[in-house]
């Protein structure tokens, strides 16, 4: 393909090498660590939520010492619950599910997998990370300010989010910081997306035709396209929301509002639905930004550990593209009950069900990949199989939620919470885990402990099913989401036992993540040394030492002769053929 870009010299000095580094591998690890911090924070926030939901009136004297305002009088206040909920959602969606699989793994492995020595714009890449970090710091700052973190949820529907403190605690400074942080995040993601697209199109090694790219690369490439077109819309929405709050404009605030008995006379003519359209025009592609890289990783890992070519490679590529494209046409399915025209609901319903077709194709292809394989249940493979199971579990409920008529009873209930946690949250996290167990040896030169990995898997898969399956039942029974407790309603009070069960399951599952954390830290120093290709994989990152040198390929110019998933090729000497293996040798 194109000429290799001029490679920058290895940086000298600790700061240039590890802090303000332009090396895509260091940046990838930086993103990964940022996501790791965020996921820990997000989990801690969810502990608070689960405490309140299971034991709403319980007093927590110890926590009261630490958070006198959040636990005024002993029990957790509903506004504290809502601020935990908002921050949990926001941090998980933006700083974990968007950051780890795309910016983390993508940064590290996209260039190596296509045979490039770095990203197309290394300095831009460094900037993307530091801008993301600033965004995270601003978001975390929202937890500290007086009035607390915002309570408007990760969707921050206007006018609740636009009116300021009068509409509720945390909607003053906390909400302002939230909007600023998201706006900064949009900029960072835009830069990342540009870099990914350019790199994929221009820096592929000789022989790395588009249809020889691993499915991970296809997934990152498509995700970058989604990010490129989705984040600007959120950025625009965020700026307009900010203007409504501080600039006296009325994009989202209609006239004649009376909030907390105070007439809002400064605004007129805005539309609350406009915010929802802008948010979900970003928000739905965002779901796929979170899950597509997981699909790519799962395809890659399933093929590797079944020792079989991925089934229907071209169909997989087409499916990724189809999902990406259709994801732009479905945003209205979040708004079936919003007062939007019932005619558009019908159109959005059909497009939403249509996105199920490529998703189903992927599932069939994964199953067909397993069929006739020689499955090795490594920790990475376990998580990839878990991904498939979760993708199915979370996907089928989409068939219900895609229909506006079924959304009448189910919209904004726990059924939706179950659906998106399983398919967007947990499945994507399983993709991240599969990637971590698979690539850790390449990134750090040492193996993760497989036994601990398997224990981690069992706790996690059993835990997430125990947490999220019962939420379907809560939803069917009519429990609305974002309630600080269910017991204020008579028809919901009998469901409290389920809430307690879910909380206990959540605590166990969260505790089990410490196994992973321990394994991760311990293996960095003490793990078994990894060779260049411990899993007998085929893609280019396994042709170089672990960890790879500064410019990835050293003196050797990588040349590609094969597709990415040549496992169990008849008559080949090994049960896998590396992408870079010259054709002659196989025949000979």
């Amino acid at each position: 393909m194109a000429e290799q870009a001029l490679v920058h010299e290895p940086a000298k000095g600790f700061i240039r090498k590890y802090v303000f580094s332009t090396d895509h591998k260091v940046i990838g690890i930086q993103y990964y660590v940022l996501a790791l911090f965020s996921v820990l924070l997000g989990m801690v926030l969810s502990i608070f939520m689960r405490l309140r939901l299971a034991w709403p009136m319980e007093k927590w004297p110890l926590l009261q010492q630490v958070f006198p305002t959040g636990f005024v009088g002993g029990p957790m206040t509903p506004e504290f619950y809502l601020s935990m909920m908002t921050m949990h959602g926001t941090i998980m969606v933006f700083f974990v599910l968007t950051t780890a699989p795309l910016s983390g793994f993508g940064n590290y492995f996209l260039p190596i997998q296509i045979g490039a020595r770095d990203m197309a714009f290394p300095v831009l890449n460094m900037l993307s990370f530091w801008v993301t970090l600033v965004s995270l710091l601003v978001m975390v700052a929202a937890l500290f300010v007086t009035g607390g973190a915002p309570i408007a949820g990760w969707t921050s529907y206007a006018p609740l989010s636009a009116l300021g403190e009068v509409a509720g605690p945390g909607l003053g400074l906390g909400q302002t910081l939230w909007i600023i942080s998201i706006a900064i995040f949009c900029v960072a993601s835009l830069l990342t997306a540009l870099n990914f697209l350019t790199t994929t199109l221009n820096l592929r090694a000789r022989g790395m035709s588009l249809l020889r790219m691993p499915l991970t690369v296809w997934a990152w490439f498509t995700t970058a396209m989604l990010a490129l077109l989705a984040f600007p819309v959120l950025l625009a929405g965020g700026i307009l929301l900010m203007l409504d709050r501080v600039g006296g404009t009325s994009f989202f605030i209609p006239g004649g509002l009376v909030v907390s008995d105070r007439l809002i006379s400064a605004h007129t003519g805005g539309s609350p639905l406009l915010w929802q359209h802008l948010f979900w025009f970003f928000g739905h592609p965002e779901v796929y930004i979170a899950i597509l890289p997981g699909m790519g990783i799962t395809s890659h890992v399933l093929s590797t550990f079944s020792r079989k070519p991925i089934f229907a490679y071209k169909a997989m590529v087409l499916a990724i593209f189809a999902i990406g494209f259709i994801s732009y046409l479905v945003w209205g399915h979040h708004m079936f009950m919003s007062g939007m025209s019932p005619y558009s609901s019908m159109a959005f319903s059909i497009t939403t069900l249509a996105v199920g077709v490529p998703s189903a194709i992927k599932t069939f292809n994964w199953l067909a990949t397993l069929r006739g394989g020689r499955i090795r249940l490594t920790a990475s493979m376990l998580f990839a199989l878990g991904f498939v199971s979760l993708f199915v579990s979370g996907g089928v409920t989409g068939m219900l939620l895609a229909q506006p008529v079924i959304d009448i009873p189910l919209h904004d209930t726990y059924f939706v919470v179950a659906h998106f946690h399983i398919i967007m949250g947990v499945a994507a996290v399983f993709g991240i885990f599969a990637g971590t167990y698979y690539w850790f040896p390449k990134m750090f030169g040492r193996m993760l402990n497989e036994r601990l990995g398997k224990i981690h898997f069992w706790f996690t898969i059993a835990g997430v099913y125990a947490i999220f399956m019962p939420m379907h039942f809560l939803g069917i029974a009519g429990a609305p989401r974002r309630y600080a407790q269910l017991t204020e309603f008579e028809f919901l009070t009998p469901l409290q036992a389920l809430q307690v069960f879910i909380s206990v399951a959540a605590f166990i599952t969260i505790a089990a993540q410490l196994i992973f954390l321990f394994n991760f830290i311990w293996s960095l120093r003490r793990g078994k040394r990894a060779g260049a290709n411990p899993w007998a994989s085929t893609s280019l990152e396994w042709t170089v030492p672990s960890p790879p040198p500064h410019d990835n390929f050293g003196a050797v110019e990588p040349v590609v002769f094969h597709g990415p998933y040549e496992y169990s090729v008849p008559n080949a000497p090994e049960d896998y053929v590396m992408q870079s293996e010259p054709v002659r040798e196989i025949n000979g």
């Binding site: 609740l160 008995d261 089934f311 069900l353 020689r374 229909q403 009873p409 029974a477 009519g478």
Partner: protein, 264 residues
């Protein structure tokens, strides 16, 4: 391990489907006319989704066990099968789009049929954190309101303009709503401050109340009794407590109640 994992996915499939089939937790008992079609569509989709879910998990579990690594034989070198791919693509497309079309028919019946002419009109104005309910009174007309006149402390929650004679007989209640059974009710949903959502699970009724908009929905209660109105759109700190009581009663009792309320 392969056997264990296979069995685990089987277990997930069986337990989940079992709980749904046994209806351990299920939709609240239906109490509206329009809800019957919704429930049918929901149940049908749930069955299809359940079958897909069950087969996929069982298949996944079986494959993991059946194709576990053993012996020395290599895996099958199997790249693609255009026929198979075409078959399942068409099958899923037909099922999904078919479901969508059917669902849309039910939706269209509900939302585009228009409210029957003998419907009772009730206005709901949501606020943080209460449901204000207004009946037009004997003249059938709602009086003019003005946001500048709203004063909760004087119990003028809607800002009724005293100069408008049409409003003199309006009946305004807070968090208490009474509807007749077996007669269509048209709701006009409004909001004073932020977006709320009017949700009565037994009626299969949910619709956002959006500030700046007046959204109409209709329903026909079939069973007398007391129900709860829940808010289903995050509206602030006490969202979880935004509860209204809804009493459905036969027409004569409903009229008595209105009269008694008007006398207050």
């Amino acid at each position: 391990m392969a056997l264990l994992l296979g069995l685990f996915f089987w277990l997930v499939a069986i337990v989940t489907v079992g709980i749904f089939v046994a209806r351990v937790w299920w939709l609240p008992d239906l109490a509206s006319m329009e809800g019957a079609l919704i429930d049918r569509q929901l149940t049908m989709t749930l069955i299809i989704a359940g079958v897909v879910f069950f087969l996929a998990q069982i298949g996944l579990g079986y494959f993991i066990w059946r194709y576990r690594a053993r012996g020395t034989e290599r895996a099958t070198y199997w790249h693609e099968s255009p026929k198979l791919e075409a078959a399942w693509t068409i099958a899923t497309a037909v099922i999904f789009i078919g479901l969508g079309v059917r669902g849309n028919v039910v939706w269209a019946n509900y939302f585009m049929s228009g409210t029957p002419p003998d419907a009772v009109t009730i206005e709901i104005t949501a606020q943080q954190f209460a449901w204000n309910v207004r009946y037009p009174g004997p003249d059938g007309k709602f009086g003019r309101t003005n946001p500048a006149l709203i004063d909760d402390a004087l119990a003028n929650y809607l800002g009724l303009d005293p100069k408008d004679t049409a409003g003199r007989d309006d009946i305004v209640t807070q968090n208490i709503m009474v509807v007749p059974i077996m007669r269509p009710v048209r709701l006009m949903l409004r909001s004073k401050d932020v977006t709320h959502s009017f949700f009565v699970p037994q009626f299969r009724l949910k619709q956002d109340a959006v500030p700046g908009m007046a959204i109409q929905v209709h329903f026909t209660a079939t069973k007398a009794g007391e129900y709860e109105i829940a808010c289903a759109e995050l509206c602030g700190m006490q969202h979880y407590k935004m509860r209204g009581r809804l009493m459905a009663m036969p027409q004569p009792e409903y009229e008595d109640w209105l009269k008694k309320r008007a006398a207050l």
